[in-house]
């Protein structure tokens, strides 16, 4: 198993290196730069600024500088947010995105799996229809509709929770977490239901029933593993995407996370910040994919043996 993880980490590192290299050069192919504005600045000032950020150097030297920085865990200064380094910006935003994302994933996984299982075990029952409705609603209604709706109801009318911001402790987390979890609850419950129904039809589940070991053992020991493997495969990359922040959630609920930095950085051609966040997203995504593979290998001996 250790060899397997080591190999995956090595491959992940290569993937990350390729991703970062590609992003670096594609970003510079895009027209404009960090300091090209409509506002006129004198050519001397422009040249001074560019020299300060080493933008006057040939591109391969800039790349070398960037790689050297990454190796020292220094992602350089932001070109947009003066006096802040990219490390500062990530360190200030990431905790909010991580907290909201973590709870959203936990809730989405628990509620989604529970609804999906209930639906599969009692097909066409009230529970199944409820889960189906939640699924359709969660997938069909976009975050920017459901977010303000919940704000209007629970913050403005009932005054139970803050509209946004981060100053009310756990209470300010509730709405963003729910809104972020909702579409994931929907996907996970649909996926769980389908996969559970398929697994219940498997021949080996029939064998287990024929053994007369009781419905609970059939369910827990013989059905759940197979039914949850696809859910786990989905959860890995989904978790990476969720905990790295969502620009929509952060905008609607005024959360200073890193989701909005990414979009802003790309628009402002903030080269160092774009590179920093790309590296972070890529790293987290790869780590979660490896974690997913490890969990699946633990549960499924056939995956384990392929290595």
């Amino acid at each position: 198993m250790l060899r397997f993880i080591g190999k995956r980490l090595w491959h992940g590192g290569l993937t990350l290196a390729a991703l970062v290299t590609l992003t670096f050069f594609v970003m510079r192919l895009a027209p404009g730069g960090p300091f090209s504005r409509n506002r006129k600045i004198s050519p001397e000032v422009q040249a001074n600024i560019e020299a300060a950020f080493h933008l006057d150097e040939p591109i391969w030297r800039q790349f070398g500088r960037f790689v050297w920085g990454v190796l020292r865990l220094d992602l350089g200064p932001s070109t947009r947010h003066r006096d802040y380094s990219v490390n500062d910006l990530i360190a200030s935003g990431l905790p909010y995105s991580l907290t909201i994302g973590f709870w959203a994933v936990v809730i989405a996984a628990m509620v989604g799996v529970a609804l999906g299982l209930a639906g599969a075990l009692r097909r066409n029952s009230a529970t199944d229809y409820l889960a189906g409705t939640v699924g359709v609603v969660g997938i069909a209604i976009p975050i920017f509709v459901i977010g303000p709706l919940l704000q209007a109801t629970f913050a403005l009318r009932l005054n139970w929770l803050p509209v946004g911001g981060i100053n009310d402790g756990w209470r300010s987390l509730v709405l963003p977490v729910i809104v972020l979890a909702l579409p994931n609850i929907a996907y996970i419950s649909r996926l769980t239901r389908t996969s559970m129904i398929e697994t219940l039809r498997e021949n080996y589940v029939r064998t287990a029933r024929a053994k007369g070991i009781g419905w609970h053992r059939v369910l827990w020991r013989h059905t759940l593993t197979g039914a949850l493997l696809p859910v786990i495969a989905y959860l890995g990359p989904a978790t990476a995407a969720i905990i790295t922040g969502s620009i929509l959630i952060e905008t609607i609920f005024a959360v200073p996370g890193i989701g909005r930095h990414f979009v802003d950085a790309a628009l402002n051609r903030d080269y160092p910040l774009v590179m920093g966040i790309t590296l972070l997203y890529g790293g987290i995504l790869i780590l979660f994919n490896i974690a997913t593979d490890v969990i699946r290998a633990i549960l499924d001996p056939r995956i384990r043996n392929e290595r």
Partner: protein, 326 residues
Amino acid sequence: MTDSLLSIRDLGVRFRLPQGETMAVDGVSLDVAPGEVLGIVGESGSGKSQILYAMMGLLAANGRASGQVLFQGQNLLALSPDRLDRVRGDALSMIFQDPMTSLNPYMRVGDQLAEGLIVHKGLSKAEARAEAVRMLDRVRIPDAAARARRFPHEFSGGMRQRVMIAMALLAKPRLLLADEPTTALDVTIQAQVLDLMAELARETGTAIILVTHDLGVVARLCDRVVVLYGGRVMEEAPAEVLFDAPAHPYTRGLLAAMPRLETVLTPRLGTIPGTPRSGGSAKGCPFVDRCEVRLAACTTDRPPLRDLTALGPGRRAACYLTGAAP
């Protein structure tokens, strides 16, 4: 009939389908004595497997069983799921058709075997595991102790079916249901697996119902045979006389379609013209459309299953002709 281990009376299995209800098994009655090997033969869709599934409470969700299945004095069809679980896997067990998909891929083979013993016999984990290894050894899994810790995908098809046999016989059942246990296997190991199953069953005094469409298998292993067509019993006879003197036209057709050593040079095997009609209909003999000797009555009235005492003991057939001309 009083000494029978299993006695099925008027068993019916219906499936609700979008286009209406279909009858897979229609009024089947049969008995199995302790230690006896009963073969059920018939072509695909004749309902032979559904009889077994109905007994085990394993019918698909849209299926319903009616009638009576008396096993050791209990009507299996009327038992609550809890009570049924005390019978199946213990006194009554089953081997399935496809060994490749019938074992849990996520569980060690030894644990899958031990599980039943822990639940039914109250053995400890260690005792059950030891028993499982002993049983694997008896079905000739080499290096059984080590093999018990492996997963099903590390076994070949023949080995997996031997594991299934071990699993089914582990609790020393009174009756073993085998649903085409060798169809999915390589021809070269079919006989070997079947002989092993029969041999072990004989040792424990276990009766077998062997469902198959392979008449060669029946000739090899069975004491008695029931021929099924369209969900109904067409003929029942001791195995040796069935092959020599089939009473029902359908049985004769089946035997003509079987390759024999002495006719190996004939250009073609016999076939039964037509296809089985799907879904039992209420009127007439189910075989009438394909029968070469049908009478006018066959299309309107269903021939009852009658004892053919004139032909010998234990013989029954559902055909007007056999009743008329013994």
